[in-house]
Symmetry: C2
């Protein structure tokens, strides 16, 4: 429960070995005495390389840095030459095409009279500039940077976010603001999931029926792809495209049915799940087609890696196609897995010709898979471990599915190479890092920010910071600051629930509805799928869409419960006042019984009222022998109330549970 840290948080004091509000926590840091003032005299000078050749990417980054500092301070900073307040020294621009071997380290020294940021590469300097922005703090006189010495570098070289833009479309401006958020937490891979059964999202000039017939008109032009790739590079972020084959590929076959394993015709899939349409791996025409396609796309995506998907191949079309069955017998391919391995070897050779290394989901792990392949583990950590032992590079996604609607804490404690890992150092070095995954069954441009942020910041910290950085209370303390910083780069997570609630309220006073939804979280991914019939066309405007995963109330009320248990501050008064309001919500919200979308919250409001009654009891629990029985019964009741209430879960149950377990002092 980290009570000590919690109480310090509540008292507004950072813990003694303070990480301040840095996120991710640097590899090494030591705060000193005093501060450097940031006022209108604040001036930056950049020195690059031995020959001092200017690096345009670095110049743009410094311009953005200055503007962001201005938006925090309200000051116009000094653009003139002269003795700098912050000297930035960068040895060279770094890799022409960023790869996992790019150097990202930097050293930052801030003294009361001067700051210095040094880095071997522009990307290292980018990381350091984000750290400086996080250090900027107000005081009575204005703004300042604390004296500090930071030597920082990432724990893992591959720190990514996957966004599925195929099941639901996301326009370019949505992608750009995610890239801004990623840069703020030092992530470096944008994994762009660009094709699916439900949509093909890139313009192909070679095979124009791909986007013309497979996208409902919702695709990126080649110019937009270039624009996003350049935008990402400016922020030290690689763009790894994924075109999922041989399964998850219905949308390809709408325009090009000849490459499927059954005749067609095909239409864009509107439902979600695993579907039969699959590339025909037995025909040369398929490889010629993919060769042409990859060749065209390779001109758009400079990254040395290329994601082939490879997950969830249904196998139905292969089993039902006699020609394919004959091919398998002739080649001695005993099963669909072997046939997919054959397909992957062919694909790997094509990718190599185009200068790309193959990445795929863990299903592709199969004897004979080229050792140059990177395996992305999504079904658990086993594949990551097994792959590393077998000599494959690996990245982890299991445990980091943002669509699962889990708490930040759960994601934060997942580690690709945890303490006590059985891997040898050489094997562990094959674990390149990981990626959070934002799958798109249940998201739209309106809700995506609230599903990614701020939880992704904690995953980013896991991938950047030393393994030992895993104090959950300290993470939540810093996250409360980080989420406002992320809002300032343009993300909409903090406005989300209020905005969607106003619409749900359909002209009635939204305030009590909003209060309720801020105490709720969406049910888990699978729970929603089994409770609500959804397709790609379903408007996602329900109460569950207005709620957000791990809302601030979750940790906030856990902290408050901790304060009550230790008698700190005015915790008791604040909790009493919250309980008093929560009790009244079912009555206040009853007017929404006649508002179709809003009335979905009423069961949750009733359940919250029952949780509240238990909470009130827990503040003056029975004493003596009745005590244990009482606690057992109330905890069982909470277990039951913790189950889905309609499409919502009550996020404050862990706080009430603490009151019971902590003894209700």
């Amino acid at each position: 429960m980290h009570f000590a840290a919690l109480l310090l948080t509540l008292a507004g004091q950072p813990p003694p070995d303070s990480t301040r509000t840095l996120m991710p926590v640097p590899a090494s840091f030591r705060f000193g005495e005093g501060h450097l003032r940031v006022d209108t005299a604040f001036r930056v000078r950049v020195t690059t390389g031995a020959d001092g050749a200017p690096d345009a990417r670095l110049s743009r980054a410094v311009a953005r840095f200055l503007r962001r500092a201005e938006l925090v301070t309200g000051l116009i900073l000094n653009r003139g030459t002269g003795s700098p307040t912050l000297a930035i020294r960068v040895a060279g621009p770094g890799q022409a095409v960023q790869s996992p071997t790019e150097v990202e380290r930097y050293t930052l020294t801030i003294a009361p009279d001067r700051a210095e940021l040094t880095a071997p590469t522009t990307v290292g300097a980018l990381r350091g500039l984000e750290t400086i922005l996080q250090l900027l703090e107000p005081d009575a006189r204005g703004f300042r940077l604390p004296a500090v010495r930071i030597e920082d570098q990432p724990r893992f070289p591959w720190r990514g976010l996957l966004i599925d833009v195929a099941r639901h479309w996301e326009p370019v401006e949505v992608i750009k603001r995610q890239l801004d958020g990623m840069a703020a937490v030092k992530l470096n891979v944008f994994h762009w999931h660009l094709s699916e059964d439900q949509g093909f999202r890139v313009e192909s000039r070679l095979y124009p029926r791909l986007h013309q017939m497979g996208s409902d008109g919702l695709y990126y032009t080649q110019e937009q792809i270039r624009e996003v790739v350049a935008y990402a590079r400016d922020r030290g972020i690689r763009v790894v495209p994924e075109f999922d084959v041989p399964g998850h590929s219905t949308s390809w076959f709408v325009g090009y049915p000849a490459y499927a394993s059954a005749p067609g015709p095909y239409t864009i899939e509107r439902r979600f799940g695993v579907f039969a349409p699959t590339f025909d791996p037995t025909r040369e025409a398929t490889y010629q087609f993919l060769d042409g396609f990859i060749g065209e796309m390779a001109t758009l995506f400079p990254d040395p890696y290329w994601h082939i998907g490879g997950d969830e191949v249904s196998g139905t079309q292969w089993r039902e196609n006699r020609r394919i069955q004959a091919f398998m017998r002739a080649r001695n391919l005993p099963d669909n897995e072997a046939l997919q391995a054959h397909f992957n070897r062919r694909l790997s050779a094509i990718l190599t010709r185009h200068g790309k290394r193959m990445v795929g989901w863990d299903e592709i792990l199969h004897p004979g898979l080229p050792k140059t392949t990177v395996v992305q583990s999504w079904r658990g950590q086993d594949a990551l471990r097994d792959g590393a032992r077998d000599g494959y590079l690996g990245i982890l996604s299991a445990g980091w599915y943002l669509d699962h609607m889990q708490t930040t804490e759960v994601h934060y404690l997942v580690d690709p190479v945890p303490a006590g890992s059985p891997l040898t150092p050489a094997e562990a070095a094959r674990v390149l890092g990981g990626e959070a995954c934002m799958w798109a069954e249940h998201i739209t441009p309106e809700s995506i920010d609230s599903r990614i942020w701020p939880r992704l910041a904690a995953i980013a910290e896991r991938l950047w910071s030393p393994r030992e950085v895993r104090d959950v209370a300290d993470m939540y303390r810093r996250l409360a600051v980080m989420r406002v910083r992320l809002e300032a780069v343009g993300l909409g997570h903090e406005s989300h629930t209020a905005r969607m609630t106003r619409r749900l309220a359909a002209g009635r006073n939204p305030a009590p509805l909003q209060e309720l939804l801020e105490l709720m979280e969406p049910v888990r991914f699978g729970e929603r799928g089994s409770r609500q019939s959804l397709t790609q066309l379903t408007p996602l405007v329900f109460a569950i869409d207005a709620a957000r995963p791990d809302p601030p109330a979750h940790w906030g009320y856990r902290s408050l419960a901790a304060a009550v248990l230790t008698g700190a501050g005015d915790g008791r008064r604040r909790l009493d006042s919250a309980f008093a309001r929560w009790r009244m919500l079912p009555g206040i919200l009853s007017e929404f019984a006649e508002v179709p979308l809003a009335r979905d919250v009423l069961p949750a409001a009733q359940a919250l009222a029952r949780v509240t009654e238990i909470g009130i009891e827990a503040l003056t629990p029975p004493a003596g022998p009745a005590r244990a029985e009482w606690a057992r019964a109330r905890l069982a009741a909470l277990d039951s109330l913790a189950r889905p209430q309609g499409l919502l879960r009550i996020t404050v149950i862990p706080a009430v549970r603490m009151l019971i377990e902590g003894g209700g002092r």
Copy 2:
């Protein structure tokens, strides 16, 4: 004070001659008995013209309509063929290039079994589709449309919004969402103010130094211009470009100093005001340059009108240039106004050659101005009246400056041809309508939505609805619904104060700061200019930027005061509770004394506390002879407190004034 309407509002009942929540109010409407259900069977059929030729613009509009209805209802509506729930009959597509003579009328009949929308043109149908969306309402069974017969058409053919993208830049996505908002309130002209002393915002291939040197890299590509023009046309909105000449033109001269009236060199102006740089109207080269420029731009902007600006010519450069003075003497041009008129006649001839009619600010009214010119009145209504008498077409902007930070009520009651206007019917017909103006000294992409919306909806109603529609209480009642509808089309005004307040709070609890700022409004345009030294480079992240003009609290507390005075509902309890909180705000907010940007609110919090004390007194005022003296003293105190408190004004003072004037029953 419209007490009756107010009380009905408070009781949740629309007034008897109900405008429901329609905004703008239709020209003619009669609600009937019963409702048409909107459920998954809801189906639309479109019939066009005698030959039934499909109109792609109409098809896209219907697709958007269906999607928006789905986002309100949470339903997937029926896209199949078959007997329609809503039959749309449109005689023809309308003008190939929309002009002020485009027909915008429509007829809408909703019966319990069927709805029909008929219009002579696609634009008329667009207006009717917006009305249908506004009629959609929830009930216990789902959603429905009330039985109604509407015959609607606009009062004025020119109903616009000017956005200045030159003093501060606005990216394409910001413009697009304003167009969506404009379409929702049936506006039809987007006046795009594209050049200024502080920036030149369009790519010119003929004169590339215009955007290359005059824009800081912040300009629209020609492709983006075409995209915005097409986006606007799809919504029945004309795009009238303004390139302000001969003054307000410093940014042109950065790349092309030769066309100025003094040698240069020039740099982009960062301050705001009226500056000396002015085109040289005496040289043929100037007209050749403008002819070339207009010819190039005419390919991007199909609208038959072209705005030349023409306002605030400083005259300094003309007075100081001996060659220009000689030219004036030789031509018998007695003063700068005459020289500008000479320039305007030349310009008008060039525009005519390019198929454009000239529009300009009221300074251009001068003997000899071609009668084809449209005069835009900004300095008052006199020019509009004088111009109409002299045979000029006119549009009104005086009274509709959104940057002045006035209340919706003030803007709503401005009328281009008020009751009792001295104009003859023929003269009045020359008044084409008007435009609200969003000048950009004090706005950014982050704040623009909150400065335009929802106030623009009330101005749109003035321009569309019959003159007699001017019940302020009913307008505010409908605006409270309209502002959430406008949020749903993608505008950020409702999230604005909360979002910016979180940043101002710099890691502290933003709730009390937000509560205060929602009771405040920004000081008037001129008041800010005289109190804060601002340039184009100043980051607009202050408390004044977080506040919004005419926030919901303004009318909300006036309504509450009305309820208290008449003893309606639980008004008294709600007001007591508000006063109790407001009194505590200075104490609660004192922790922000050390937060540089947030502490700007402290004087306003103190002043609000004093207003609150007066409000509390007003609830139990002295009786008898002391009463009048007490009221006089308190009203005088409120007058003083109504002045700017720092950069804020207290928006609830009118409500407290009502309590005193109403007698504090």
